[in-house]
């Protein structure tokens, strides 16, 4: 593995150069939170940000997106090409993007997603300390870089180690002369940074993540879901901030002439009451406890089984966002504890 060294003093110059060819979207501080937004020249980019309010999925899968436009009896698909650099993506969010790529790229490929995704290059950055108290990336296995990446930065103090993972990533370094090849001292510094960071992150699940799918399967009838359902408000904050939630609704909007208009897709949520309701009046997931259960099973089991990639990436955003403090860590650990109690029998637990 070989990599480049990029001095921090040259980073702004590099980003300015990139901005001449692409839109550069990076974490931006807004009212005490961080959001992924398009950056302007001279704007400082806090690459050491903790975490963003909404995940970078909103760049490749916008909350509102025009699918079709119809005018004078003609329908046209609205497929948007992109030229975006997504800068400062953490490894958890990169794992999430790998899952989105599978969902939208496989089976019947979604051209809208693919056009935008193929025009997006991701510059990820290594997390050297936990972002918030809610993150549990180490437990979910997303603290390390996934197999596929474009360009990956690691903060070494005065400079960054720059790892090129793809042709798209390599293209970002072309035309910029501010980096130098790494030498053996740099390899030592990188090694040190990586081994140093590991102990700073806690394991927050009381069990190994490989057991999570079977734990959820055996917990289908747990009374915990009723208890969570009583607290849950079905506000859908969790799904909005989740990097691997992809459900959408499709709605038409028509002009005053009742002839021309658009068909859009919008983010939707399995947590909302009417998500599984049909026109005849039947609702296939009417109870909140069923909806809460579905979410956790999907994140911890169904997505992994369908795509071989983790559904929940341990970013902790839903835990921060939940108005009633329902969190994946609490939920998964509670289920694990209940299963241990059930297996042990009452006497052994008291001992």
């Amino acid at each position: 593995m070989s990599f480049q060294i990029l001095p921090k003093a040259r980073v702004e110059e590099w980003i300015d150069e990139l901005r001449s060819r692409h839109r550069v979207v990076a974490p931006t501080r807004v009212d005490g939170s961080y959001v992924f937004a398009e950056t302007r020249p001279g704007q400082s980019i806090p690459l050491d940000y903790p975490t963003s309010l909404l995940p970078p999925k909103r760049v490749i899968l916008p909350p509102r997106e025009e699918l079709l436009r119809f005018q004078d009896g003609n329908i046209e698909a609205q497929v948007e090409e992109a030229s975006i650099i997504l800068l400062g993506v953490h490894t958890c969010d990169l794992h999430a993007m790998a899952l989105l790529d599978r969902v939208y790229g496989e089976g019947v490929p979604d051209q809208h997603y693919r056009a935008r995704r193929s025009g997006t290059t991701v510059v990820s950055i290594e997390c050297l300390r936990p972002c918030t108290e809610h993150a549990f990336c180490k437990s979910m296995g997303t603290l390390t870089l996934p197999e596929a990446f474009d360009l990956h930065l690691t903060d070494l103090g005065d400079d960054y180690a720059v790892d090129v993972g793809s042709e798209k990533g390599a293209a970002l370094m072309e035309g910029f002369a501010g980096t130098r090849p790494a030498v053996s001292r740099d390899y030592d510094r990188l090694d040190h940074a990586m081994s140093d960071k590991w102990s700073r992150f806690p394991y927050r699940l009381d069990f190994d993540v490989s057991e999570l799918p079977s734990l959820l399967a055996s917990s289908y009838r747990s009374e915990l879901w009723e208890k969570l359902g009583e607290r849950c408000l079905s506000c859908s904050s969790c799904t909005m901030v989740c990097p691997t939630c992809t459900c959408f609704d499709v709605q038409d909007e028509v002009e005053f002439n009742l002839r021309d208009g658009v068909r859009r897709r919008l983010w939707d949520s399995c947590q909302i009451g009417m998500f599984a309701a049909v026109a005849g009046g039947h609702n296939f997931r009417a109870q909140r406890s069923a909806r809460v259960r579905h979410r956790f099973l999907r994140k911890g089991k169904y997505q992994r089984e369908a795509y071989g990639l983790t559904g929940c990436v341990g970013c902790g955003r839903c835990a921060s966002a939940c108005l009633v403090h329902i969190t994946p860590v609490d939920t998964f650990n509670a289920l694990y504890r209940k299963r241990l109690e059930a297996q042990a029998g009452p006497e052994e637990v008291r001992a």
């Binding site: 329908i75 089976g107 051209q111 068909r263 939707d268």
Partner: protein, 282 residues
């Protein structure tokens, strides 16, 4: 692959093809039968049990099961539409010559070739006959390949029974044994009165050689399944078509999930053996 389905791989999987209504026939107070023609001799090439997304631009798109068999859908196909929501209401306002959008066909249909040589028991409830008609017509058009065919059909009241003239023709042909029932009788109704499950004691079957196919409202399935399993029909021989709120038809929007299964991809036709482990299916 169906030419209509292939069109999805072009610009956008959400782009409907413009189709034309050839004929509109009211069936009941709530249901109409539409005959629809695709452009330029484009073929539908569907399997019985598959559905299409029907668009009224500006209102929306609804998933509707195809109601005519592959054998009777050359050049045009039929959809039986109940007026239930905003899109179906808009469809009911359309007439012969009007245009609408069509995407599909989607999903897995019934495996007709696996039914060959077996006795077939069709048990639709209410609107369930609409998708099942595609399978019944297909089977009748190759009658010699199948054993006995029985139809047990129930609706809430006589005015809600669908395709009565076609059912009468099937009865006259001698190809199917027909038993009808209604939950509540009406003036002029001389047939059976009782829920659909009251028809099952009237028929004798060779259960191991019978394929049962049932389609109906969600509440009906549990009761019909009890009857079918009670007669000794193996779980793998019982087929159902499940409805869910489908917004894309291609396994992306997430609305049709039952546990980990996408109804629009692995269904809507399922054997009971397939869905028995899915807690959210029935």
């Amino acid at each position: 692959m169906s030419a209509l389905r292939e069109a999805l791989l072009d610009e956008s999987i959400y782009l409907p093809v413009e189709a034309r209504i050839l004929d509109v026939r009211p069936l009941t107070k709530l249901e109409k039968l539409f005959r629809i023609e695709l452009p330029e001799g484009m073929s539908l090439q569907h399997e019985p049990g598959q559905f299409v997304g029907v668009s009224v631009l500006g209102v929306g798109e609804a998933p509707i099961s195809i109601s005519s068999s592959p054998s009777r859908s050359n050049g045009s196909f039929e959809l039986c539409v109940r007026k239930a929501g905003s899109v179906t209401q808009a469809l009911h306002g359309l007439n012969e010559g009007d245009r609408l959008g069509v995407r599909g066909p989607f999903g897995h249909g019934f495996p007709v070739h696996e039914f060959r040589g077996k006795d077939l028991l069709f048990a639709p409830g209410g609107l369930g006959l609409a998708p099942l008609r595609s399978l019944i017509q297909e089977v009748l058009d190759q009658r010699h390949l199948f054993g006995r065919i029985l139809l047990l059909y129930g609706a809430r009241q006589p005015s809600e029974l669908l395709f009565l003239d076609e059912i009468e023709a099937w009865k006259q042909s001698g190809d199917i044994e027909i038993h009808l029932t209604v939950d509540r009788g009406e003036e002029g109704w001389t047939g059976n009165v009782g829920v659909i499950t009251t028809l099952f004691p009237k028929v004798q079957l060779h259960p191991r050689n019978t394929i049962a196919v049932t389609v109906g409202p969600p509440v009906m399935y549990r009761f019909v399944l009890m009857e079918l399993l009670g007669k000794g029909i193996p779980e793998g021989n019982i087929w159902l078509s499940l409805e869910r709120r489908m917004k894309c038809g291609v396994g992306k929007c997430g609305h049709c999930q039952m546990n980990h299964v996408f109804t629009c991809q692995d269904g809507p036709a399922f054997s009971y053996a397939q869905i028995k482990p899915l807690e959210e299916a029935l």
